[in-house]
């Protein structure tokens, strides 16, 4: 089977350490905030200067001046703090954020990530992605394993313009959990029912199979 976006998000959320500060990119990464394991405290930081934002505001209760970096109307949790956007990036670039989660168009064998531009469009959008990718302690990628046409998004070298070089820690897809190591891409977990051979078939670079390879727990 292939995981749903929610299942990818749930898997990623298990990696957030207790009492950690985490930055989530828009789209799939944002979903992870719904799956924090019980008893664990994770504080979400967003580029626009929020620390400790909470769930989306209920319809009718939105504050027109309170959005997260995805533009969603959110709430603030107890202990929240607000800083200006320059200081939000001091946090991001200075390694104060334990984990950043970004979506991607491609990830390379060396841990390069491309997510800011599809050249055919003629114009891209960087936002905070280059800073997050470069600055956080651990960068996670959350994405579908292949394109809509079934082509690998995990590649030997990125064909799209890269966002940052040699920065990805672990890739979480609908097929697998793959860690970027100095020796190469380490296949650590596969989606239930998938074999390493099937994952390899959808992945351009050669995968190293972890000795303790397991199924992704859902």
């Amino acid at each position: 089977m292939r995981l749903t976006d929610e299942q990818i998000a749930k898997r990623i959320a298990q990696e957030f350490p207790d009492n950690s500060f985490v930055n989530l990119g828009i789209g799939l990464p944002t979903l992870t905030s719904n799956y924090i394991p019980a008893g664990r405290t994770v504080i979400f930081q967003s580029e626009n200067g929020l620390l400790g934002y909470g769930p989306r505001a209920k319809p009718g209760e939105e504050d027109s001046q309170l959005v997260n970096s995805g533009g969603e109307f959110v709430t603030l949790l107890p202990g929240a703090a607000i800083v200006d956007q320059a200081e939000a990036f001091v946090m991001l670039r200075g390694g104060h954020i334990a984990i950043g989660v970004l979506g991607a168009l491609e990830v390379s064998e060396q841990g390069d990530v491309a997510n800011w531009m599809v050249p055919e469009r003629g114009v891209g959008r960087i936002g905070g992605a280059m800073d997050v990718a470069t600055g956080v302690e651990k960068l996670f990628i959350a994405m579908s394993h292949t394109t809509k046409d079934g082509k690998p998004k995990i590649v030997k070298n990125c064909s799209y313009p890269i966002t940052a070089s040699k920065v990805v820690h672990t890739i979480f897809t609908d097929m697998a959990v793959i860690e970027v190591t100095p020796q190469g891409l380490l296949l650590k977990e596969v989606a239930p029912g998938l074999t390493p051979v099937e994952v390899q078939a959808s992945t351009e670079p050669k995968l190293i199979i972890a000795k303790d390879l397991k199924e992704i727990e859902l």
Binding site: E47, N48, G49, L50, Q65, G71, D84, Q85, A86, G135
Partner: protein
Amino acid sequence: MSINKVVQSFEEAVADVFDGATIMFGGFIGKPGSPTNLIRALRDKGVKNLTVVTNRCGGVDLDMLFEARQVRKAIASAPVPASRKPMSPFEAQYLAGEVELEIVPQGTLMERMRCAGGGIGGFYTRTGVGTAIAEGKEAKRIGDKDYILELPLKADFSFIRAHKADKMGNLTYWRSQRNFNPVMAIAGKTVLVEVDEIVEIGALDPEAIVTSAIYVDRVVKIPRKES
């Protein structure tokens, strides 16, 4: 205290903005922190050949300036929305070669503005190393890491939005409205602010003022119905 930076209309606030000016616009995404009323006054004034410094080149506010073809160049971080449809006025004009774009990573944009306002000549960042952003920039290895040199970015005017102002121009913000605004207040030569509320000097808690009056030139109150 004789200082009074309150002006009575948005029209008056933007009166000295000139053709070819570089203007920074607060706001990050959507409504929070966007100086919508000042932007509307600028559109109505009709100055041309502007360079705009902004997170996004659009939204209900900045779209106005592109629709009126007042912009020559944009310096932005996320100039276009993720989705191409419907295409923004900026994107159409950029693809047609009618508007220039300098795309800047958001953290670099913040820091370039702060440097301009703080007298720093430039700074080395790892952001953008090995990417298209590094092209043409000085590279330097410091310690065991690679960096690129980024230069200050200043503006003739900054248009910002805050929550409360006292009459001398001290500002507080509400929630994610803060975003780019305090940094642009530092980086702009002439700083125009629209606020929900104007209070007497001394009514704001000195510990809670985010932008000092030192940076602020003019303050306009947003009419209640539009706030």
